[in-house]
Subunit: 391 residues, 4 copies
Amino acid sequence: MAIEGSKNQKHSGRIRYGMVGGGQGAFIGAVHRIAARIDDKYEFVAGALSADPAKAKASGQELGLSSDRIYSDFQIMAKAEAKRADGIEAVSIVTPNHMHYPVAKAFIEAGIHVICDKPLSLNLKEGKALAALLKKNPKVIFALTHNYSGYPMIRHAQAMVQAGELGDIRLVQGEYPQDWLATDLEKTGQKQAAWRTDPKRSGAGGCVGDIGTHTYQLGCFVSGLEATELSAELTSFVKGRKLDDDVDVRLHYKGGAKGHIWASQVAVGHENGLKLRVYGTKGGLEWVQADPNYLWFTPLGGEKRLITRGGAGSGPSSARVTRVPPGHPEGYLEGFANIYTEVARAIEAKRAGKKLDKEVQFPGIADGVAGMAFIEACVKSSAKNGKWIKV
Amino acid sequence: MAIEGSKNQKHSGRIRYGMVGGGQGAFIGAVHRIAARIDDKYEFVAGALSADPAKAKASGQELGLSSDRIYSDFQIMAKAEAKRADGIEAVSIVTPNHMHYPVAKAFIEAGIHVICDKPLSLNLKEGKALAALLKKNPKVIFALTHNYSGYPMIRHAQAMVQAGELGDIRLVQGEYPQDWLATDLEKTGQKQAAWRTDPKRSGAGGCVGDIGTHTYQLGCFVSGLEATELSAELTSFVKGRKLDDDVDVRLHYKGGAKGHIWASQVAVGHENGLKLRVYGTKGGLEWVQADPNYLWFTPLGGEKRLITRGGAGSGPSSARVTRVPPGHPEGYLEGFANIYTEVARAIEAKRAGKKLDKEVQFPGIADGVAGMAFIEACVKSSAKNGKWIKV
Amino acid sequence: MAIEGSKNQKHSGRIRYGMVGGGQGAFIGAVHRIAARIDDKYEFVAGALSADPAKAKASGQELGLSSDRIYSDFQIMAKAEAKRADGIEAVSIVTPNHMHYPVAKAFIEAGIHVICDKPLSLNLKEGKALAALLKKNPKVIFALTHNYSGYPMIRHAQAMVQAGELGDIRLVQGEYPQDWLATDLEKTGQKQAAWRTDPKRSGAGGCVGDIGTHTYQLGCFVSGLEATELSAELTSFVKGRKLDDDVDVRLHYKGGAKGHIWASQVAVGHENGLKLRVYGTKGGLEWVQADPNYLWFTPLGGEKRLITRGGAGSGPSSARVTRVPPGHPEGYLEGFANIYTEVARAIEAKRAGKKLDKEVQFPGIADGVAGMAFIEACVKSSAKNGKWIKV
Amino acid sequence: MAIEGSKNQKHSGRIRYGMVGGGQGAFIGAVHRIAARIDDKYEFVAGALSADPAKAKASGQELGLSSDRIYSDFQIMAKAEAKRADGIEAVSIVTPNHMHYPVAKAFIEAGIHVICDKPLSLNLKEGKALAALLKKNPKVIFALTHNYSGYPMIRHAQAMVQAGELGDIRLVQGEYPQDWLATDLEKTGQKQAAWRTDPKRSGAGGCVGDIGTHTYQLGCFVSGLEATELSAELTSFVKGRKLDDDVDVRLHYKGGAKGHIWASQVAVGHENGLKLRVYGTKGGLEWVQADPNYLWFTPLGGEKRLITRGGAGSGPSSARVTRVPPGHPEGYLEGFANIYTEVARAIEAKRAGKKLDKEVQFPGIADGVAGMAFIEACVKSSAKNGKWIKV
């Protein structure tokens, strides 16, 4: 279970990283920073935490950055850091969606690894441009924080599917109900609500972009399936809301499996009710994000079994991303940290010129582009009354 | 809580009833008989328990019927019982679907009340014919055993919606996963599987007819909403199966609310996983059939609350259909019995020439016709790639 | 699963039974009557439902008894029914505890089978007297409604222990928290609270007698263990209450296993929170009365497994006392009915002069005497500061 | 929710700390280090990670310590660090129990703050000696990692009790079942099992010292009650085990409340099943460590309510120790981190010469001494057949 110094090697030095976005009042930036710290693989040394110079400075000071590495312009930061001998090796992008593309572009071009919040970009076109750019810059590692795929029991679920314990997959049922936008919160000035319901900053998808993509990515991650087409209905239940706050998607996967996603921001009583169920010819799985240390598995004709993180029945793919014994819960931050640590392993391998262990996995540009394609297909299908659209 | 002799009145004599179907080897017949006994409102006195005379006789003797009231022909039974001074006042129809129509017709025409298993008939046409027949025979009471609407906490959920505690309903999420048909059980000779996957005996809907209709009826019952159109995808995951074993339905209700139903017979790990969730502008509800004594309610911005049958927060609409104190679970049979007891109240009111109490409710011909319309629309929509079809 | 006519035999005629206690305003009488009806083994034909003649009459009429079989004196009833050719074969005793002994005595002496509510009597002396009386009347069947031992999953738990699936039992943990007496309800005139907190009608144990005995009996039933000594602390948390409303008991069983019981009537938030856990060298079990269709089992070193009534992993000992398929919950009344049906099998065997099937089991006089010994030992131990007392 | 830089102040520099114990192969040392990192309040700079110089060196290098600050002798470390201008301000003690006292003594005498794993010491005498030593060294902060009291919902539970929402407390029910010592694991050479079942390294209590003290401390923390006397039964179920592996304790609190603790290391099916229930005249609470983001509360006569960390109904005392929104689970490490962060606040206040905010709380020397008194009383009571012993 020991992730720090996991291979009894001498400590090779933390990865220097910076951050764009995530200043005072932001939410996800702090999550990224904690995630980076948990396994002690990173050192936070630079930031353009806000585009507002005063706020950038206050935020940077609060977080202990040297004053010469507090920026308010990400372009300047990318260039300056690329030049320094002790410059950052990686950057975390935690801005609203519309800034992902320009920021990622600047750092990729500066040869700096990127850890970007999801969804990838404002639209599919930008996403494809980033993919092309990365092709030209093969030394740059790009990670997308679809953090739920970092949960140990999700890793184990994936391993069970791969080992054939579910047989041929027939059905993938994903849902992600929330209720924080059940009222027109965006009109109250709440910062998160404001940008997430604004097409200019979020893109064409509201709920579908924010949490629909998470659900979609997780279903693909665990089942190993690839979607071919979808039919979607997007709804804005709250009057005057510009983007969808509820989405219902049917999916067809290669090989005949089917899927369904329901994501909602108006389902009163749910906080972050992400749930994934996968059914095959030989068994069924169920996992709930709010109780992430449990994985339910029923073999065909057998009893329901509760597999616990680190407990009986959980194997090496979850053990390598776990820290504490079974019965002591790990949570959201540890799952998020697993993404950071997996990326660190990739960076360390690059540093050392070694091949990356096969078991290391984190969502990357392909997941990002797939997510943007998913959003676009959903929006298009919904506009056409649920017509089936190729993904 | 005392349902027997609930109004301190003198016992007025049990309702004499008979049964068509439900002989040895059947499942639902015994359920109906227990349901009829629980509150002591019925006396079982006649039956055409099988079309096979030997089996009908053996079944009838086993259940203690007089030999002169053991029939093998339901037509003869209807006529004979109608003539007797002590003839049955009601009949329960517990045959496969294709027999519902002819049997119901015979008894309605004989002036005998009918309690019919669901779905109503083989197709919508038959269902409408029964509705027309009942219009001509206004003295005949017709009940359809959508038994889930008999559960006390479902009654309370309906009452909460009616009282406005959820505000305007936005979303109705119903699901009913099972796994008993995850393999081609019908090929093993299993009787239930054989007829339920056979279009000649089940009608055009397999999973959608058997459990999809239950889910649909329950959603309408609790929410009070009426569907206007639907889009459906029916799938037969098991090779060679003639009817659907999985169904995904989108619903539009009058007034703008939306709904979704997922029912499946191949979802490994689920026994009878019926679950209903209703979300409004002011609150959300959740109920699970396997744990029917609980109703989850979250008021907007408040804590999740667990309302228990008979416990704090549960009101008169559930109390009148409950028998034991909170914490002592009631189950499927008691819910089923509530339908029988509600019908008994209606029959007693007819006997006495009194108006029926408003609070008495049980599913009837309208629910049956709606169910058949639902099945037909689902089949049609699925054949057209999920096109929206008026219900 | 078919309990009615379970062996494809011709119906042999219901068992005629009567009741003492259980008139208007009572609780447990109605439960007994429903339990007797569920499997159609009994016919309710006589009653001394109240000692008050007017109330006895009204109650009897409401329940459809012939006027000549409505009694207000149980002694007269016992004699009159014993004389009739169509007299009752069995009587249910559902009075407060202090009446159990005299009523049971009268009917045993009249040669009528007795189904008695628990605890057996007002004190151990009475209990032993009944045991002696039954020895002299070996034709009389005596059953005590420790109804929880009728739950299918409790039967399965017992079978698992007997099959050695838990190895040697080390620990039995029983608890039964309630909250209905968290205030001085007995002072409001509530009938149940009044007699259950009154030593003259309840005996020396309050909480310990009412629900402590249930917990004790259930632990012995499942584990197969016999207690040798106990240490108890009884508390009356509510001021002015004459009997205990909370009890904590340590148990030593033959062979070295240990046990613990906590029962409370003041644990706010619990309705009928009976829970039993049994731990052995090879596995552990957990069962909760409010969710009785589930049995948790963990084999040493294995995953937790959820065994469901009628589902995978549940065997013949639960199947023979179950009626509906897995996923359709059975509850308190069905568990109670199982006791009645088991007794009916015993009565039918007596009628037929046949030996009783070994698998038939119901709590009897020995359980009753053990329960009284348990209460007395608890009271004694508590008075001596928790001193260990032989049971 | 922002714990890092929580008051918009400039970063004041991390607290330099070291560690004694926690080298390769240890468990709890890594937990402490992660806990120290999560909120970025500490910098790990020195260690005597093992008494074996080679192992100490390897462990120190792996964790990135400078070679001049890798020690194998804690006495030398204490003196050396006390002399350095950049010496550690705090030390974490994560050795087996018998080393707590000498190590703590050395660092207290060196004027270095101590964060010590629980239980405090090998016996009560040592504990009292440490208390006396701290009295003489008032500048030294001493914290004991009863980490469960760092969970947000435990903080909220405490706040609810303090606010009177439960009324007068009547009952505290704590349990902590585990199953890792259900077999004689100590004979296999497993390091954790070996020292925890060895009186020389663990002290007189096995299960009671390891997890019994946690349960006891948590019950006192939440209820605010102080125990006056106890009656205990300690059992060693596994043959040949020198210390108890199961403990049953009755508690009397000042003012008349009562308590019960069951802790076990042989309860098959439990990983770390710590559960606390508190009942008062006006309400009841329930919390389970494995699902720590939930707190159940039932007001007398009301519905059960599920309060979630950060969600509706959870107040400021939990909010100040929480990082992510409701529905995104926090776990064991975050709870542990809260203890570290609270201690950091105390150290920062000392540094600044400021008074500590009242809301800051962490277990200290008093809890440690109380825990040792608890163990000693349990051992004594058990030896005398459960006699009541003053605490």
